[in-house]
Symmetry: C2
Subunit: 119 residues, 2 copies
DNA sequence: TGTCAATATTGACGCATGTCGAAGTCGAAG
DNA sequence: CTTCGACTTCGACATGCGTCAATATTGACA
């Protein structure tokens, strides 16, 4: 990322500074991390992640995802937006189509975080 | 109840069968896992886990937790119940006091699951 | 320019959830 | 048996969230 950003996504807030272990998590940190977990904690969004990751080249077109779910197109669009906003999905528009890509680093960081909370 | 349970906690549903990797997560599985993640995806509950894990002997009394938060006692009790119901916290009553203990296995399993979704 | 197709946004609806005060339960100790 | 203290449950309130239909936007192409 060349340009300087002023705000961090939830995923980026997770990435740094690790030791959540024994000492209690600060209120501030919890408030920043919760949205990320909340984004994943939805059945539809959970199911959205793997098809994207599994697709050719690691990215999937929205149209493919629409077909794979029995939900309205706006609803899928909404969920993708949520995942994008917390930094779990990258978004790139090519022509009329929009492709999403999993930021596996962010996902891995949240997993690490989770593992660290309890031990 | 001494043994044989008919229903699994959300945490137990996560434990078995791993490969969420490339093939998409089934709707059924997603519906069972989401509540577990949803339970952790709250700032207060996130902050509740580490003090419990860090306490003497890995368990903490509700009274200790009440003092550590600026929330009403019923609210803390509610959050502990949520964490308990999804299988992340064990609950044992000794005398007048109630002690909660982190089931680190369950927490670890959800972390593993999360790591597996994106790659 | 105008039309069509792919996504996004808006607005509205109902349901879920976090919070509190008040009341209920359940041991322990007089 | 009565009282007290530690929790839990209940009822109510406000806010948040998933969903859809309708509408807007954007790019390709005739």
């Amino acid at each position: 990322m060349s340009k300087s950003k002023l705000t961090l996504t939830a995923a980026e807030s997770v990435a740094c500074c690790s030791p959540v272990l024994t000492d209690p998590m600060s209120e501030d940190r919890a408030e920043r991390i919760a949205p990320l977990l909340k984004a994943i904690a939805d059945p539809v969004r959970l199911r959205l992640l793997s098809p994207v990751a599994a697709h050719e080249g690691g990215e999937a077109c929205v149209c493919d995802l629409n077909d794979a779910f029995e939900l309205s197109q706006p609803t899928i669009s909404h969920h993708l937006k949520v995942l994008h906003e917390v930094g779990l999905l990258d978004r790139s528009k090519r022509g009329v189509w929009v492709y999403y890509r999993v930021r596996s680093r962010a996902l891995g960081d949240s997993a690490t975080l989770l593992a660290g909370v309890g031990r």
